[in-house]
Amino acid sequence: MCPYYYQPMDIRHIEAVDGEIVRGHLSFILNGDIQQVDNIPGDMTLLAWLRQTQGLTGSKEGCGEGDCGACTAVIARKQPDGRLAFTAVNSCILLMGMIEGCAVITVEGISAPDGMLHPCQQAMVAYHGSQCGFCTPGFVMSLYAAWCNGAGLDEIEIEQTLAGNLCRCTGYRPIIDAGRSLECQGMADWERQQHEVLSGLLDHIRHDEMIEIEAGGKRFSIPHTASEFARCVAEHPQAVIVAGATDIGLWITKQHRQMNHMIWTGYVREFHQIVTEENRLILPPAVTHQQAMAVLGDHWPAIKSLLVRFGSVQVRNSGTVCGNIANGSPIGDLPPALIAARASVRLRHADKERTLPLESFFIEYGKQDRQQGEFVSAIEIPLDAAPHLKCYKLSKRFDQDISAVMMAANITVDDGIITDAVLAFGGMAAIPKRAHHTEQALIGQRCELANFAAAAANLIQDFTPIADMRGSAEYRLQAAQNLVKKYGLEITGIALVALADRDAAKQLVS
């Protein structure tokens, strides 16, 4: 079928389990072609659907957990301002219900109408960017997303764009060169026209109503308003709430859990809207890390530099801030940073909402203060100035890695005296946790390097870290103590080069 044209829509409604009348199929665009599909199990991934049902085998499975990028596809959505936004995603852990109303573009769908390779593909050929070729479609699609968004791809941006794509053959240099060669190329007319048509098609398929798909006893509910979502969650307390599926996707692909019913946050428009209320920044459930990065970065540069190393573009494009909190991972990077920023979490049950400090949301490993039928409805962060907020992430690899130790620190200094301190750690306990003894050792002291070094000794009272494949207990404790010292160095005005920041490390090159 010739893509990129309008087709009549055939909207089919079904009676949902609870008797409501809902739309019973997904509508989306695949490589320019409108698709309406039903009879899809709620746990089916986009990659499985593409490869197994559509014969689109260009997207590869390299890991099935969103860590290698070989499955990268691009999702295009309409922004509130009418522009198209193109996001690279790991299709291996993206669930089919999550592409409702979107355009999916795969490596098979980007060449010119006359069959010529897309500039991103041409560049990869011209610069010898492929060897075995298995990772290549993923690299092409990551570049393609950046290209479509009109990013001026300098070296640093390309590195960030490609941090979630692993290549075992090339050593990356030719791929980076291919990406850089795109910087000075303009988009051809055919592609602009294609985007215009795509924009129209997206309007054409958008229908504001609740959707539910099901097959093989696996249901995926897609509420479209906040109240509908809250009601759905309250009525189905056993259902799993899914946001970006960057974690839940792995429950399916890696742990092979049976997921009989999932309810998705992402179709609710107001769940995407970041707002400011009474000097507090409110991040509702569907705000992705990538979306949050820009806003958080404006207020807290330290959190931005952390988020740049959070997962990868693909992970940040899917994963959400609220989801990261709700899952309560002890090694999550964001909770310590948000605790240090004195964030709160809002929990909603039907129409009732409560708010609690983020740090008290985490109770013990795998257990959060969230009742059945409740969901994390927002993260609130006070927009107070936090000039001393800093984040430190230690991992084996700089990019796309999980912390062995993560520290976010935020002190208040008044007339040279530390009057308040938050030191929040990840990787040091079963939950993201503050180092209260160490904090107390700092409070009341002069803001001098020696006092940080002395306070660091208290960490041993705060934590008994575990040993695992990411690091030994001794290393974690030693590194955590050193991070407190490092914070002290920086707070007392000693400029340090963060090796994690490749651009900053350039100044060291002789």
Partner: protein, 771 residues
């Protein structure tokens, strides 16, 4: 001139590049398969070492979607998938020997059914004591065979007589291949005993032979086809046997097509990796840094069976000298048997570990004498190829092609080594949080399989009556650009455009009895075989056309897509047509066996290598002394590929090899639990380099004067493995950086991989305090 594009020495793109970027290049799981194709899942042992008391799989058989359950009793032939030794069962019987081992397989209509059925297996085990590490194996005397020794000179006397002596040890971690395409095979049973298997393998012939053996068939019943692999790196030399055998068995027993695609975690848990080593050393040297004697004790973790460990041990021993002529040397190899994955080939094949050993020794010697390690290296190189007298390796091969002096002096100059070392010393003198380090290290790598008989290859070329050329050879494409190089060789031979030469899938039905595409030998062997096939065809054409024109065949030549017969020129296709009408055979095989090599496996002596490949890298790093984080600031590489057949492909191998080698020695860490289960079994926990890990400045050049002194294909040199060992420069630069922390008083004695944890803990142990 247009038609000459794509001939040898030109930077032609990979033949599948367009297929790669458009997603049309097919890998095993992308092949169109009939709807009744079965999917296979291997049930794995949860124990490292245990006796299987009883196994009840009835409920698995009865589960929805399950078509067949395969276990040891279902194998009509021999229950073995090992490459050589006969010690790797396809399905464990009685005893399981590592956590992750294959016990049985489920053939189901779909993977979800297979996974669901797996939970229904009832297996009772009696756990047995497991030996997991090198230390445990050494203590328990658990070896695959007696220790192997290579010895030259009067080692003990020379050591005793040396002015200075040092001893120490280094632990070197293993490495997961992490080819992006996991192990994969797809089998179709045909009529009679016929079976066709598409497989992602470096060794189609071995898979053919092993399938015949396990299924009780003759080799001629089995055809194995490999179009391409999504990466191999040695991990698909023997490790493809198991999945291919299981797929073939399922297809044979059910009559339905069957595919097996390892899930990434299963791939990690099932397959062998690069051997981890513990190398003890004693070295004797003089005041100038000249090394007189070295004793190495190489203990390597082989895992539960031999796999290729005997040959890997031999290569590790044969590279324990790297580039250095050491008169008195003893290398002892302990092949430790453990209850872990059976370790296997990985780019370098033991060479890298052997080389890390001697480079560590050099570094320690330099530290002891307060010398620049580069000066110690230079002091000990094998004599230059133009020297009056050449050096002999501990295994008895004369090194008559050494060009390291040239490479090192050029690289030292272009990398500005001396000046930067001084700058770094000044920088580190401030004792700041960031320390820098630099190292310039050489590579000398022996080219040829050290098992001599493997050094043979075949090719098959058809010319069709329209003048198009069908090229086939015994090598396999894993991304290294073997096919494009051989197509260039053939296009060059016929003087026809590259597009006229069609590259086709490797098939045991076309070229038989092939060796693995391994040991960097793919182009050397198969390129030569293809050239000979082309030459045979040219000769036949020339004889016929000369006869027709009444001239001598020497007056026939091929140029510019034409055949010149005396004074007459005609297009290549016309000439082919004329030969066809004249009933000339337009199909020919070519065969090549590497000359001059011999190896006495019992004495570990001979000339195992046809020649050596050389290269050097200078790397500079920075280490954060508070966190152990590190970054490669700059790497300069000068590498010898002889006369390059395709400079773009060769540069790609060098850069990729370097980054892979650096990854092995820095971020890539395999961790097993105390129960012997592999804890790092996915990219979430096992960290290969990402794009920002490549050096900030990365200068890679081919050694322009390079030319193979042996008569290899167009005087090129093998390039697959040697560059991996350029990554050793990063490891030693890291050691240099943390060594600067304790005023140089104590040698850092860093183990690999140099993760942030190892760097921080070593730096801390060296007595460093900051702030």
């Amino acid at each position: 001139m247009q038609d000459a594009q794509g001939h040898i020495r030109q930077p032609v793109a990979h033949d599948s590049a367009v297929g790669h970027v458009s997603g049309t290049a097919k890998y095993i799981d992308d092949l169109a398969m009939p709807a009744n194709t079965l999917e296979l899942l291997i049930a794995q042992s949860p124990h490292a070492h245990a006796r299987i008391l009883d196994m009840d799989l009835d409920a698995v058989r009865a589960a929805d979607g399950v078509v067949k359950v395969l276990s040891a009793q279902d194998i009509p032939g021999i229950n073995d998938c090992s490459p050589l030794a006969g010690d790797d069962p396809v399905f464990a019987e009685d005893i399981v020997s590592y956590a992750g081992q294959s016990i049985f397989a489920i053939a189901a209509t779909d993977m979800a059914s297979a996974r669901a059925a797996l939970a229904h297996a009832r297996i009772n085990y009696e756990p047995l004591p497991a030996i997991l590490t090198i230390d445990e194996a050494m203590a328990a005397g658990s070896f695959l065979g007696p220790a192997a020794v290579i010895e030259t000179g009067m080692v003990d006397d020379a050591l005793a007589d040396s002015l200075h002596r040092l001893d120490g040890e280094i632990v070197i971690g293993g490495q997961e291949h992490f080819y992006l395409e996991s192990q994969a095979a797809y089998a179709i049973a045909g009529e009679g005993n016929d079976i066709i298997v598409h497989c992602s393998t470096q060794h189609p012939s071995e898979i053919q032979h092993k399938i015949a053996e396990t299924l009780g068939l003759a080799n001629h019943d089995v055809t194995v086809i490999t179009r391409r692999m999504g990466g191999g790196f040695g991990g698909k030399e023997s490790q493809g046997n198991l999945p291919a055998i299981i797929a073939a068995l399922a297809a044979r027993l059910t009559g339905r097509p069957a595919k097996i695609i390892y899930d990434r975690d299963d791939d990690f848990r099932l397959t062998g990796k690069r051997h981890d080593f513990k190398i003890g050393y004693q070295v004797g040297f003089d005041q100038t840094g000249r090394i007189n004697a070295v004793i190495f004790d190489q203990a390597m973790r082989c895992g539960m069976s031999w796999d290729l460990s005997e040959a890997i041990a031999a290569r590790a021993m044969c590279h324990a000298d790297n580039a250095y002529h050491i008169e008195h040397m003893r290398i002892t190899s302990h092949r430790c048997k453990t209850h872990t994955q059976s370790n296997t080939a990985f780019r370098g094949f033991g060479g890298p570990q052997g080389m890390v050993g001697i480079e560590r020794v050099i570094d320690a010697v330099a530290h002891h004498l307060g010398m620049d390690p580069l000066d110690v290296r230079k002091r000990n190189f094998y004599p230059h190829k133009l020297a009056a007298q050449h050096g002999t390796t501990p295994y008895g091969q004369q090194v008559h092609d050494c060009i390291l002096q040239d490479i090192i002096s050029e690289l030292e100059h272009t990398s500005d080594y001396k000046k930067r070392r001084n700058e770094i010393e000044a920088f580190n003198a401030d004792q700041g949080v960031i320390r820098r380090g630099i190292a310039l290290t050489p590579v000398k790598f022996g080219i040829s399989f050290n098992t001599s008989f493997l050094n043979q290859a075949g090719a098959l070329i058809h010319i069709y009556s329209d003048g198009s050329v069908h090229l086939n050879h015994g090598g396999t494409e894993m991304g290294q650009g073997l096919n494009i190089k051989i197509a260039q060789i053939v296009a060059h031979e016929f003087q026809i455009p590259l597009r006229v030469v069609k590259i086709t899938a490797t098939s045991t039905g076309k070229v038989p009895n092939t060796s693995a595409t391994a040991a960097s030998s793919g182009t050397d062997l198969n390129g030569m075989a293809a050239q000979r096939a082309a030459q045979t065809l040219k000769q036949r054409m020339a004889e016929f056309l000369a006869q027709q024109a009444g001239i001598d065949p020497v007056q026939v030549s091929f140029a510019d897509n034409q055949v010149i017969v005396g004074t007459d020129r005609r297009g290549f296709a016309d000439a082919v047509r004329q030969c066809y009408l004249g009933r000339v055979s337009l199909s020919a095989t070519g065969f090549y066996a590497t000359p001059k090599i011999h190896w006495d496996k019992s004495r570990l002596a001979g000339r195992p290598f046809y020649y050596y490949a050389y290269g050097a890298a200078c790397s500079e790093v920075a280490v954060d002394m508070l966190t152990g984080e590190s970054r490669i600031l700059r790497t300069d590489i000068l590498h010898d590929v002889g006369k390059s057949l395709n400079p773009a492909i060769d540069i790609g191998q060098i850069e990729g090899g370097f980054v892979q080698g650096a990854g092995w020695l820095t971020t890539e860490e395999l961790v097993w639990g105390e129960d012997g289960t592999l804890l790092t079994h996915a990219p979430s926990t096992y960290k290969i380099p990402a794009c920002s890990d490549r050096p900030i400045i990365f200068n890679v050049r081919l050694f322009e004067q390079g030319e193979n002194s042996e008569e290899t294909i167009h005087r090129s040199k093998a390039v697959g493995e040697p560059p991996l060992m350029l990554g050793i420069s990063v490891f030693l630069a890291l050691s240099d950086a943390i060594g600067a922390s304790a005023d140089g008083a104590i040698y850092p004695a860093l183990d690999a991989p140099a993760t942030p944890e190892r760097l921080l803990m070593r730096a801390t142990a060296l007595g460093e305090s900051i702030g």
